[in-house]
Symmetry: C2
Subunit: 574 residues, 2 copies
């Protein structure tokens, strides 16, 4: 049982049959075709040599197949993680330098270690720090930054920077250097890919090809763009006319690579690795859960941490870069019929074969083509209307989202996400610091009690009944103290306060101290504190405490009982 | 109204009468007598010249009287803040050096700016970060470190460090240098003060003196110890025999002092200033609320931030050190009959007179006496049994408390409190990340529904009714996703899921996205999602959302209505 939890392949491998093998193989072939241009493109986006993207698409897929719990998640380099990689490495070295390439290895290893540690310690809940509005804003802004960063390849000019301002500025400064053949290749590929995405399906439908197969054909359009533009560049010798091509890529499988042991570099990359880990994890789990639900399967988020961690460790040790689950690729894998993670392992074999035999063919691949595939891929990530939807639903969430977008676009991915998380937690703590509570009174002639502000109810100046609608802890305990103190100062005839607790699931040690303080202060003021409707498990924990021994009043089973008892003259009740 | 909120003295000053004046004056005299040795002692504890303690007890009291909301809180140097001051300054300069003294000024100014900013932005809730167990563990451990740090003065030896290990180690290394006259003075004062604290009240009672007056007499014992040992030191020329005395203290009122503008120093002291601010604020509010309750008054925590901030700013600009509300002094002030903050302002006049005229008399005051007053004062802060009480009540709170104590004792006050806060928030987020929820079923023959695990209830394999017992937000939204996905994978006949929401007060944007994701995934799996018992305000916000438009099922008013409707054959219900 426990073993299966940590080695999820024990679940599906024993029942592996020939028909599953066929399904997985078909999916693997399709995903391989899709992954080759993607892995090259995302290496380019990260500022790394093309082969690093291929290396990151071999072992990680095998290790995820062993340790991951999603049956269909396709792991490898993805756009947002590649941008974050570039941003983290840009602070420590020049793109393409040995330190830069070594930094990518270290980022993958650190990210792997962090993910595995979080998985073993079952810290997956930490991902909750990333609220939906923050992650959604972050991905939109990242998509914009990524698309902007690729324009230089389409135009064939120099540009640099990791935010929209820097990229835009350097791009405008150099736009006069635009290389026409590059622009033709790049914009041609862009138009073709956009056409494939928007219209090809409709055309295929006219030709009688529909459903999954049509979907898959449209998703493999990038490989066609790669093949055609590579042949063009080779045939016309475009590299002699200023068209930048991928160039010679070393053939052969990745070698064992060890990360630097320079602790200063570890420290510099720590925040970047943490953010890549958490963003990647949140996205993977979200894709994985969506796909799993379609087949009534389930993924285990804590084990996902271990699966993604193992994938990143293997990526680092084989000279790769940070990896995570990709959305579009996983959907293709799912739609193409993948049934088990073995499809991922077979994809790894496909990429390994490409690394061994296809690298000479890649030499003439124009980077403009790769940039076009990136731009088209990230265009689906950009969702500005989400800002409007969030604004309509919740102003506080909107603030966190907007801050994330503005900082990601205007400063850096790291500051964007850190600000978003800090704001979300701040707003969350602010919100939870004011527990819902209401003064209640008796609905005349009944045993029911309702909010005095919303209903016509009986109340008495010597008695205040305060219904607490949430668990009491740490974050909101002091607010309760203030609420009761305010009651005390505003209701001069007050003799009894009843805390009505039907929705209190937990009273932590801080809240217990607050209750003690409230009780002491009320005793000092000659007022008795009572409780009513305390849930069983909460009462069990309270029973052994000083608080209950010192309680000025009593514990009532119902509000009505409290009302009745405390309505008698005080001498009789005491 | 608004003006009164920011200038609370407008509340009490117009009604100021002669009898209140008399009460306030009496209290001011008593507090002045108590504050003189305390202010000298806490300056010593912070590693500062004696007069800095006096300076910090003049203007801050006046400014707190203008801006603070507690009628009886006595502001000035306190033990824990002085230890934290020493710890923060120890990292940047040698005790007694001009940089060190300037650092104390800067700490007070920064702390004042932070407090005022938090007050204006109404960020008082941030103090909730400091859970009761963390603050209680921190104060216990600080008390131990403070007492240990004062032993060197009692023995007349050298010792240094800001944690128990360093202090203990250096103390043991130098214990051979113990100075006998110093030890006699120090231990004599210690025994006398302990006697005054434990037995004097009983003796006074025998002599017919009881109640408040007896309390106050016992609390002014330190001034007697100061007077007697000063006279002894002067009369016997003990300073010639190795007894360390306060020495020449410049007479005269404090001068306007400006903090350094060296930003590197600001940066180095920022964390220290923040922690001093928050710890001081939490302690002040707690003392203030306790005293206010006794007279059915109330304090406004956000305005308290402004009051304490103004006090610290004035302390810094007049060459003082960080100040906050002191517990024992405030109790004496209250017991002596102080009725308005004017008592604090009168105390300031008393200290100013002392600074002008008494400083020559202080020259022969042995530091051993001051150390004895500190040790006796902090002995009341130490509460190790609280560890046991917390252990019994809540293991998670115990962990945070223990970590705070161990790190404060073994490493530093800053690491202790930071670790405690980080652990509390982590544990809090962990706890809130799993909302209470229960699968419910129908109590046979009734319209009531109960937890399937605790009651004998009817359930059906096509229907799952999940009661959510807490608000849905950010921190727990993903857990709900997982809970529903687990249901889906475990209940193969499932056709309908009802989320029963009687305790849901809020659904934030993250939770809304999760509900949308749950709905989509259920639709993909051929299952309908329904809601029931949604509260009015929650329903109002949901009404305009995509979620409700895409909802696979319906919104029921009651669980019984859901049960009835969904019990019909599916074709009929759909």
């Amino acid at each position: 049982m426990r073993l299966k939890q940590y080695l999820p392949f024990l679940e599906w491998l024993p029942g592996y049959r020939r028909d599953i093998l066929v399904s997985d193989l078909v999916a693997a072939v399709i995903v391989t075709i899709m992954l080759i241009p993607q892995s090259l493109a995302y290496a380019l986006l990260a500022g790394l040599p093309a082969q690093v993207g291929l290396y990151a698409s071999i072992l990680p897929l095998v290790f995820y197949a062993l340790f991951g719990t999603s049956r269909t998640l396709s792991v490898g380099p993805v756009a947002v993680a590649s941008l974050m990689t570039a941003a983290a490495l840009g602070a420590i070295a020049e793109p393409g330098s040995p330190e830069y390439i070594g930094g990518a290895v270290l980022l993958a290893v650190m990210s792997g270690l962090m993910l595995v540690a979080m998985g073993v310690l079952r810290l997956g809940f930490l991902a909750n720090f990333l609220s939906h509005p923050v992650i959604s804003g972050f991905i939109t802004a990242s998509g914009v930054v990524i698309a902007a960063s690729q324009l230089k390849h389409i135009l064939g000019v120099q540009a640099s920077g990791h935010n929209l301002l820097d990229i835009g500025g350097t791009l405008l400064a150099n736009i006069g250097d635009t290389n026409l053949p590059t622009l033709l290749i790049g914009s041609g590929a862009l138009v073709f890919l956009l056409f494939a995405r928007k219209k090809l399906k409709a055309l295929l439908a006219l030709a009688g090809v529909t459903g999954r197969f049509a979907d898959i054909v449209t998703k493999t359009a990038p490989i066609l763009a790669v093949v055609v533009t590579t042949l063009l560049a080779w045939g016309l010798g475009l590299d002699q006319q200023g068209v930048k091509v991928v160039g010679t890529v070393p053939a052969g499988l990745p070698q064992l690579t060890l990360p630097t042991m320079d602790l200063a570099v570890w420290q510099q990359l720590a925040l970047g690795a943490l953010l890549i880990s958490i963003v990647g994890f949140v996205e993977s789990v979200s894709v994985g859960q969506t796909l799993a639900a379609k087949r009534r399967q389930r993924i285990d988020p804590d084990q996902e941490l271990i699966g993604l961690g193992a994938a990143n460790l293997s990526s680092g040790f084989s000279g790769g870069m940070p990896v995570t689950g990709g959305f579009s690729r996983s959907v293709v894998n799912f739609d193409a019929g993948a049934e088990t993670p073995a499809a991922g392992a077979f994809t790894a074999v496909g990429i390994a074969l490409a690394t061994l035999f296809l690298t000479p063919a890649i030499a003439y691949l124009p980077t403009a083509t790769l940039a076009a595939t990136i731009i088209v891929a990230v265009s689906t990530l950009i969702d500005f209307p989400a800002l409007l939807r969030t604004w309509r639903y919740s102003r506080t969430d909107f603030v966190a989202m907007l801050a994330t977008i503005v900082l990601t676009l205007g400063h850096s991915v790291e500051s964007g996400i850190v600000a978003g998380v800090a704001l979300s937690i701040g707003l969350f703590l602010y919100r939870t610091s004011r527990p819902h509570s209401a003064l209640i009174g008796r609905v005349p002639g009944t045993e029911h009690f309702r909010n005095v502000l919303r209903h016509q109810v009986e109340t008495r100046p010597e008695l205040a009944m305060l219904r607490v609608d949430e668990s009491l802890y740490f974050a909101n305990a002091r607010f309760l103290e203030e609420t009761v103190m305010e009651l005390l100062s505003k209701q001069p005839a007050l003799q009894d306060v009843v805390l009505v607790c039907p929705a209190v699931n937990l009273i932590d040690a801080s809240a217990l101290e607050s209750l003690e303080a409230i009780n002491e202060r009320l005793v000092d003021a000659g007022v008795r504190l009572h409780l009513s409707e305390v849930k069983g498990p909460v009462m069990d924990r309270l029973r052994d405490t000083e608080f209950l021994r010192h309680l000025g009043g009593q514990v009532f089973l119902s509000s009505y009982e409290a009302w009745q008892t405390l309505s008698r003259p005080r001498q009789a009740a005491a």
